[in-house]
Symmetry: C2
Subunit: 151 residues, 2 copies
Amino acid sequence: MTADGAHSPAAPDQVITELADLVFQVAGRLRQGFNAIAAELDLPPAQALALVNLRGPAPMRDLADLLGCDASNVTGIVDGLERRGLVTRRTDPTDRRVKHLVLTDEGQRRRDLLGTKAHIRAAALFAVPDADRRHLRDLLAAVANEEQRRP
Amino acid sequence: MTADGAHSPAAPDQVITELADLVFQVAGRLRQGFNAIAAELDLPPAQALALVNLRGPAPMRDLADLLGCDASNVTGIVDGLERRGLVTRRTDPTDRRVKHLVLTDEGQRRRDLLGTKAHIRAAALFAVPDADRRHLRDLLAAVANEEQRRP
DNA sequence: TCCGAAAGGTTGACGTCCTCAACAATTGAC
DNA sequence: GTCAATTGTTGAGGACGTCAACCTTTCGGA
């Protein structure tokens, strides 16, 4: 493209483009790995994603906010998880509108397994010196926070 | 948790987890912005993504490889683009199996508009000092290349 | 106290995206 | 010439997501 690559520093525009491509690429690999692990555990991606986001009993609304999707969508995902015996719906006695999602023992087990496997895979992806990894984290955090400050 | 580590001051495991979360978060913002722009231009996300990946006349197979999806999927996407008059299929005279995708004038115009709008949005997302941006790019490139070296 | 707005969850219709298996046409190698 | 491989298409099917409408429950105020 620009024949002056050696002399003039790459245009900022070029850096932006490369950055966007790289973020997509790395996120794609990460997602692909997660989906593969989910498939190993016989879980559709969305159910697996919901599962790892379930720590303690929490209203379905919270999960919808966490996943950033419609509430009606969560209904279907939780239906799947409940059908597999991984979570149970428990109506809150103090507010009978809300239903808390509670992990079953098997659900807890599956969730932990999913978490550790995903972590191992992520570690394999970010196979760079530890100092670089920390620096990368800090830079990404700066981007995320900068953006969060102006939605 | 840490099978080997006795007492690390700042567990590398923690860094990995934060890193994965941040990459997902930033990629999510990026994707969200792109989809919003695609919607502005009255294009479904997949068609928009295919459009920006079309520079010159190229076989549909190439597009499938580029998007990393099944060939039958590309058929549907290109159907949509053709229905909107953005691309045309042109069978290669030298190999009548392949069909080259050619952008129409309107397709070229829409593609350029999409590209510039997406770029502006990406620039707004990566609103950090230029030095940080370059460093971030280099670190991500290192991760991508490291991974590419061992598939 | 009663009424209406608001919130949580479900359902149904609908659309997008993706894969897989099977197929026709074409090409190329043996 | 024949057979294997490739390109693109079709149809079935599933996962994922939104939207509108609905019921139930809660809560604030007239």
